[in-house]
């Protein structure tokens, strides 16, 4: 009996190891479909989807594979110049709370909000209407594969845990100890995976809105020589110095 139990455990343990092995270690993973470029360089073809254009949204839904509900993480980034940032910030936080969202970061020049994905377009529109939009972009990260993998690994570990439980009835002390040890390890792994899954599912439910009231891109200002001489004299530093 003891030998049979040990043999079963020997068969189960590699399966557990496989279940906890990261996906990338098992072979070449497909290239990520999003976030391949920094946000500033990424084409913003989804812009209209943020703006709430129903035609664009429908087209995007049509492109999706039928029967596979996609889980996506959305991050909208805006640079809005407003005369009174504190009023806009306060209003945006209040509106986010009303729709079930919350502020993540609040500073003099930055505001990060988590809002339900359904409320993203309205939140972005309201912020844009408060001032002059200098930049606007949307990043969409598909979490479907990540969530599916986490769910599969979780399911597999739970099944192994259930099978280990059945061995308690006819095992001796030594085997019981080994089973307990394996089960403890499995429970820790299941909790960890469940946590990861919760975070991923939450990311797929909520959208992240990052608003900056400051145009930070100082590195964008470069010296470009114009063939028209007087255009080269247009410069804010020169203006201020000569005034």
């Amino acid at each position: 009996m003891k030998t049979r139990l040990l043999m079963t455990l020997a068969l189960l343990l590699p399966a557990m190891a496989l279940a906890q092995e990261p996906a990338e270690a098992r072979g070449p993973a497909p290239a990520p479909k999003a976030a391949s470029k920094p946000a500033a360089e990424r084409p913003t073809g989804d812009q209209e989807a943020v703006d709430g254009n129903p035609a664009v949204r429908k087209a995007a839904e049509k492109d999706a594979k039928p029967g596979v509900p996609r889980s996506t993480n959305l991050t909208a980034t805006l640079v809005v110049k407003v005369v009174h940032p504190e009023d806009v910030r306060k209003g945006a936080i209040e509106r986010a709370r009303k729709v079930g969202g919350w502020p993540v970061l609040v500073t003099d020049t930055e505001l990060h909000l988590e809002v339900p994905q359904d409320a993203l377009a309205a939140t972005v529109d309201e912020l844009a209407a408060a001032g002059i939009v200098l930049q606007k972009s949307l990043q969409r990260v598909d979490l479907t594969e990540q969530i599916a993998q986490l769910q599969a690994r979780l399911k597999s570990k739970r099944e192994i845990l259930e099978r280990l439980r059945t061995f308690f009835a006819d095992s001796d002390t030594h085997s019981t100890l080994r089973i307990e040890q394996s089960m403890t390890q499995l429970v820790v792994e299941i909790e960890h995976l469940q946590g990861e899954l919760n975070v991923a599912e939450s990311s797929a439910r909520m959208a992240h809105v990052q608003v900056s009231f400051q145009y930070h891109q100082k590195q964008r200002i470069t010296y470009v020589r114009s063939p028209f001489e007087w255009l080269n004299t247009l410069d804010i530093d020169r203006f201020v110095a000569e005034y």
């Binding site: 110049k81 200098l134 964008r220 200002i221 010296y223 028209f228 001489e229 247009l234 804010i236």
Partner: protein, 149 residues
């Protein structure tokens, strides 16, 4: 002879530097003794005028386009532009740009009036929030801009 030469030089200089007139925007004071127009608000929004050569000779639309392209290529962010006619029927075009300056976002507004061989530039600048408060009064004052040829 010397007097004649001096008068001729004076006449040439006067011809090179046209005189511009414009009512002071609300909330601005004028630097009376400066050449050209120069106005400032209590919180530091500045307006001034200067003259540049219309060379190669082109019209207002050409220069407005060239200016926008040049400043956008430099990294200035265009956030508003428009052309208008002054009260005296002179055509002008304004473009407003946002850019980082000294840790703050500033606006640089350039208004062009083409008159013959020269271009009048009315430039305004200030930190974004302060400039935006002064912008309507600057736009109103620009309607009174005139070249005293």
């Amino acid at each position: 002879m010397k007097t004649l030469a001096a008068l001729a030089l004076l006449a040439t200089l006067s011809a090179c530097a046209p005189t511009y007139t414009m009512t002071a925007p609300d909330g601005f004071v004028r630097y009376e003794k400066r050449k050209g127009l120069a106005f400032i608000t209590a919180d530091g929004v500045q307006v001034r005028s200067r003259t540049v050569k219309n060379y190669p000779k082109a019209d207002l639309a050409f220069w407005a386009d060239a200016m926008e392209r040049h400043l956008v290529a430099r990294g200035y962010l265009l956030h508003g532009k428009g052309c208008f006619k002054t009260a005296n029927g002179r055509d002008g075009c304004t473009a407003e740009f946002v850019l980082p300056h000294g840790g703050e976002d500033w606006v640089l507004a350039e208004t062009l009036f083409v008159h013959g061989e020269q271009i009048a530039l009315v430039e305004a600048t200030g930190p974004f929030d302060r400039y935006k408060k002064a912008a309507p009064s600057i736009a109103k004052a620009l309607m009174s801009f005139e070249v005293a040829d």
